[in-house]
């Protein structure tokens, strides 16, 4: 384990020094500021409904106007890029530089290298997202002048943790590709391809498959339509982006009570109200567990293939 810590320490220093990290940081910070500005304007325009919702502070992260998406959606889309940027050449880079053999000839275990790199990536992500969220939240506080309650802070912390988890999945995927492919460019391309697949094609595909499995005719019953909607929702949950969207949506918006499809009759009789933090957390627990499983799967694959690989592959 000490070997992994030494590797991680060096990798963290490398990340913070790298141009790549600074570009990613700038991107996320700018996106955060723009989203904050738009959210602030929107909230000011509909001041009454905002105060009605209760948690103005959290609205800063989830509100937008009809032209721009909120901060959370930005993160859902850009998060993969951050993870890929931090990991796409983790192992292939060592190989290409000729440092892998030298590194492995030191008295550390072979898995210390990949564990250290993953840990360093996680730490870097944590600094990045805690930093940006604190920055955006801080400015938002100055804007609105409404301090967050302790429950809102809890929700914010949960949001940051889930974001780190989501991006950690993409970091693990990037490390996996950096083990499998010798060329950093191939690895980066594979990562981007998977990202686009999950972001763009999986939702389309989910709709198509759902229509094929549970067709909805013009005279479809509610049950049929629901069946179709459930299929679509479940299939699109194969994408970590969907899991993330659902999780942060519920965590940051106390009045969201379900992540699945609901029919209008269910809404009509519903009593207005908010969920407590724990209730929200419980509601998206499956999504969080799904993300954890995704991270474990991707990193596990990277780990196993790295351990089985020849030093000179």
């Amino acid at each position: 384990m000490t070997g992994a810590v030494v590797v991680a320490r060096k990798e963290i220093a490398d990340h913070f020094r790298s141009l790549r990290f600074h570009i990613v940081l700038a991107l996320v910070a700018v996106v955060g500021l723009v989203a904050l500005y738009v959210a602030g304007q929107t909230i000011r325009q509909n001041a009454e409904s905002a105060t009605e919702a209760g948690s103005v502070f959290l609205l800063l992260f989830t509100t937008s106007n009809d032209r721009l998406v909120p901060f959370t959606s930005f993160l859902s889309f850009l998060g993969p890029l951050v993870g890929l940027a931090l990991g796409f050449d983790a192992i292939s880079g060592e190989r290409a530089r000729g440092t892998l053999a030298r590194l492995l000839a030191q008295p550390i275990h072979r898995d210390d290298v990949i564990n250290g790199k993953f840990l360093a990536g996680l730490a870097t992500l944590a600094v990045l997202f805690v930093g940006v969220t604190a920055f955006v939240g801080g400015i938002g506080l100055l804007f609105t002048g409404v301090p967050p309650s302790s429950e809102e802070l809890l929700r914010l912390v949960a949001f940051v943790v889930v974001t780190i988890l989501y991006v950690a999945f993409w970091l693990a995927v990037a490390i996996l590709f950096s083990v499998l492919f010798r060329q950093a460019a191939t690895s980066a391309l594979a990562g981007v391809a998977l990202w686009l697949f999950c972001a763009v094609f999986l939702p389309l595909l989910a709709g198509m498959v759902a229509d094929a499995v549970a067709p909805v005719g013009t005279d479809a019953t509610v049950a049929e339509e629901l069946r179709n909607a459930y299929w679509q929702a479940d299939l699109s949950r194969l994408s970590p982006a969907t899991l993330y969207d659902e999780a942060v949506g519920v965590l940051l918006m106390p009045d969201v009570r379900t992540t699945g499809p609901i029919v209008i009759t269910q809404v009509i009789g519903m009593v207005e109200g908010k969920l407590s933090f724990l209730q929200s957390l419980l509601l998206v627990w499956p999504q969080i567990v799904g993300l954890v499983a995704g991270v474990a799967l991707a990193f596990g694959l990277a780990y196993v293939s790295f351990m089985r690989q020849e030093v000179r592959a």
């Binding site: 530089r97 030298r102 008295p107």
Partner: protein, 390 residues
Amino acid sequence: MARGGAADGPAILARELSKRYPGPTPEDPGTLAVDRLTFEVRRGEIFGLLGPNGAGKTTTILMLLGLTEPTSGEARVLGHDPAREPLAVKRRVGYLPDSVGFYDDLTAEENLLYTADLNGIAADEAARRARERLREVGLEYARHTRVGAFSRGMRQRLGVADALLKDPEVLILDEPTLGIDPEGVRDMLALIRELAGRRGLAVLVSSHLLHQVQEICDRVGIFVGGRLVAAGRVEELAARLFGGEPVEVEVRLCRADERARDAIAKLPFVRDVRPGDDPRTLRATCEARAPGAGGEPDEPGARLARALVEAGFDIVGLSVRGRGLDDIYHRYFEGAEPGREARGSLAGRARSLDAGRPRDGAADEAAAGPVGAFVGRLRRLLPGKGGDGR
């Protein structure tokens, strides 16, 4: 320094060590990179592993370090099995990989400090050692230079400094002098010699640069097609290989005239004399052994020199050909001259070992898998020069 673990055994021991790299498909038998290799390196000894490209030198070294698993056989480094206890081995073995690389964004010193950190060396001790090693390899002036700005040879030197940083008991150097200038090579060899002598390090050097190896190695192993075809001291190998064969001696005299030629020709151990390439030289074919009357050395070169001096000739230079590592090496690999027993059998052995490797086009394609076979077939179908579309 405390040296645990079989303190009196050999530093490196390989017994029937084999490595087969799997082929791309399960049916493919793959490459047998190392074939039942047995050898040892004692403490305080410099052992040279010689062999052509692809002989399996690097593979052997990786197995000794526990960086790749042997298919069969066993290795012991300082009494530890590298496959089972890699950390115990890696703590005490310094390794210079064949294409050594560094983190280009870090300075020479920072790179060494990272290695020290991985070895658990305390910070102040690490700083001291890093500086000392940089001085030893002649890179003190580049301590704070980013390695990205280093030349090939400077990287190689830094690699040696890096391998020495952990104060190893065994040093494994894969092509240590690659890319280093002649002066640097001399320094490097002197450093290796000194380390082996002063600190009692066991050194394993892989190389194709025979002169260098001959200069510093106590023993050499000649490695072809994954097998060790000979091992021992250079003189022993020479004696075994060239024993009984005539030796060519070339003398350079102030005046290489008819008189000198006669003086040489009438010596009992000289078979034939003729002028050399240069007008001032004479070339004599001598018996391998030239036993003298009164306990003189039986080296034909020495006898010839003495005879000439006694007859009043002034010798400018004298060289005995066909005894160096060059010739030994050459004979193992290329010396396929027929009609000579020793040559025939040895070269035949080297060749027969080579025969297991794919040579002709079809076999190459087989080794390259279905895609290679397809490309090969395509190439044969296309007309002209490799079918580059013109």
